[in-house]
C-alpha cells in the first residue's frame, strides 16, 4: 500500500497545509450497500469548509469519518497526520483537538448547562479532580465567558432537559468551544434556529476561528448561509461529492439548481 503522503503529493489538488485528507473513501454500515462512495476531500488549515446536500446523502457519515466514529471500508483518511479511529489509543491523543457537535447534540440531559459545558474541558483535567467535579477556576470562568457569548448566562444552573431546542444547541456549541479545539466538526448546528440566531451563532464561530485559528467542517441545510460563511463548499449527493467550489464561483440559483436536480 502506498503511503498517504505519496498519494497526496501525486494529486496536486491536495495542499500540504491540509489537516484533513481523504482519498477514495468508501463506507458501509451494513456490509452490503455503500453510504459514501469514493470521497476525495481535503480541508486546509484555518478554513471553513461547508458540506451541503439532501437528506440521507451521507453528510453526517462524512463528518463521523473525520473524528473516527465511522471507519472506512475502503480508502485512506488522515486527520492531523493520523488515521482516525475512536478506539485507537494513538488517535486518542488527537481527539481533544477535534470538537464535535453531532446532529443530535449528544448532551447529558440530567446534568446542568454548566456541567455539560465543562465536559469540553475534561481531557485537560486530572482524573481524580474531575471525578469529584472539581474544576480549576480558570476553566470555570472560561466556561462562563463562553456561556455569555452564546447567551445562556442566566441558564447556567438549569438541567439540560428543561431547555428549548435552540438553547440545547447553544449548550452543545459552548461545550465544543470550551474544548478549545483546533478542528471543529459541526453537524447542522443552526438548523432549528431562526435566521437572526443562526447568523449570531455563525458569527460567533467565525470570530472564534479568527481568535484561535480554528479549522471548521460544517454541515448546513441553508444554501445561502453556506455561501455567506464558507471558504469552500462541497455538495454531497447519494454518497458522492458531486461538486466543490468557492462561494464566489457560483451564484445562489446555480447552487440551488444543482441541489435540486435529480441527476447527480
Amino acid at each position: 500500500m502506498r503511503k498517504m503522503t505519496e498519494i497526496l503529493t501525486a494529486d496536486n489538488s491536495f495542499s500540504n497545509d491540509s489537516i484533513i485528507h481523504m482519498y477514495d473513501v468508501w463506507t458501509s454500515y451494513d456490509g452490503k450497500g455503500y453510504t459514501l462512495q469514493g470521497i476525495n476531500m481535503s480541508v486546509e488549515n484555518g478554513k471553513n469548509y461547508i458540506i451541503i446536500g439532501p437528506s440521507g446523502a451521507g453528510k453526517s457519515t462524512l463528518l463521523k469519518l473525520v473524528n473516527g466514529m465511522v471507519i472506512p471500508t475502503k480508502g485512506q483518511i488522515e486527520v492531523f497526520g493520523r488515521r482516525p479511529n475512536i478506539h485507537d489509543n494513538i488517535f486518542k491523543a488527537i481527539m481533544p483537538k477535534i470538537g464535535y457537535i453531532p446532529q443530535n447534540l449528544g448532551l447529558v440531559k440530567n446534568l446542568t448547562v454548566m456541567e455539560n459545558v465543562l465536559i469540553g474541558a475534561l481531557p485537560r483535567i486530572s482524573k481524580v479532580k474531575s471525578f469529584f467535579k472539581i474544576f480549576p477556576d480558570k476553566e470555570v470562568s472560561d466556561a462562563e465567558n463562553v456561556l455569555n457569548l452564546v447567551g445562556l448566562e442566566d441558564k447556567v444552573k438549569r438541567k439540560v432537559y428543561m431547555l428549548s431546542g435552540g438553547e440545547k444547541r447553544r449548550v452543545a456549541i459552548a461545550r465544543a468551544l470550551v474544548q478549545k479545539p483546533e478542528l471543529l466538526l459541526a453537524d447542522e448546528i443552526v438548523s432549528e434556529l431562526d435566521h437572526v440566531s443562526a447568523k449570531e451563532i455563525m458569527d460567533l464561530i467565525i470570530e472564534a476561528k479568527h481568535r484561535i485559528n480554528l479549522t471548521a467542517v460544517m454541515i448546513h441545510h441553508d444554501v445561502q448561509l453556506a455561501l455567506d460563511y464558507a471558504d469552500k463548499i462541497a455538495m454531497i449527493k447519494h454518497g458522492n461529492k458531486i461538486a466543490e467550489f468557492n462561494p464566489n464561483e457560483m451564484r445562489y440559483e446555480e447552487v440551488v439548481g444543482m441541489f435540486n436536480s435529480y441527476e447527480s
Binding site: 473524528n67 447534540l105 448532551l107
Partner: protein
Amino acid sequence: MNPKDNLVIGIIIAILIFTSFNVGVDPTQFVKGIPNLMVVVEEMSHVDPTLLGTAFWSMIETIQMAFIGTIVGVAISLPLSILAARNLYSKFVYAPVRAFLAMMRTFPSILWAILFVIMVGLGPFAGILAIIMYTIGFMSKLQYEAIEAIDSDPMEAISAIGVSKLQLIRYVVVPESAPHLLSQLLYMFDYNVRQTSILGLVGAGGIGFYIINYIKFFEYGKAAVFMLVVLTTVLIIDWISVKIRDRYIVKAQKGVNIKI
C-alpha cells in the same frame, strides 16, 4: 385457536396432573384442613397487646438491618453493574462479572442467612450480610440493564472528544442512569424489609425470630402481634415509596425537575 395451541395446552395440563400426583397434591386435605385454620385464626384473635412494645422494637431492628443491607449492597452493586454493562466494557470484563452476579442471585436470602449464621454466629449481623449479598446480585442486574438502556448519543459524542472511561462514567453513565437508581433503591429497600422479617427463622436477627418461636410453641395470639406489626410496616413503607416515586421519578420521566 389452531390445533398446535390445543396440543401445547393439553401437554401442559398433562404435566400439571403428573407432577401434582408426584408431589402428593391432595385437594381434599386442603378442604379438611380449613377447620384447623379456623382454630389458628381464632387463637390469633386473642392478640396479646402487652407484646406490642417488643414487637415494635424488633420491627425497628428489622428495618435497620434492611436499611444497612440495602445501602451497602447497592453501594457495592454500582461498580459491579458498570463492569457488567455491555456498552461500557468488553466481553472479557462483562462476561465474568455477569456470571458472578448470576451465581449470587441463585441463592435466596434465607440460604445466605444460614451460611452467615454459621460464619459469624446468630444475630442481626448475619442477617445484614445475607441482605447485602442478595441486594448485590439483584441490584446489579437491574442497574446494568438501566445502564445499557441509556441514550447512546451523549456517550458517543463525549467519547469522541477523548475523555477517559472513568470520566465518561462519571459524567454520562451515572447522571443518565441515576433516576432509575433511585426507583430501584426504593424497590429494593421495600423488598428487603419483607425479606429481613423472615430471616429470624434461621436465627439471623429481626422480628422473624419472635414469630417463629411463638408459632413453635403454639402461641398464635402472641405471634399475631408481631405479624400485624410486619403487615402494618410493610404497608406504610409501600405507601411512602409510592409517594416518593410519584414525586421524583414520575416527574423526572415527564421532564420536570428532579433532585438527586
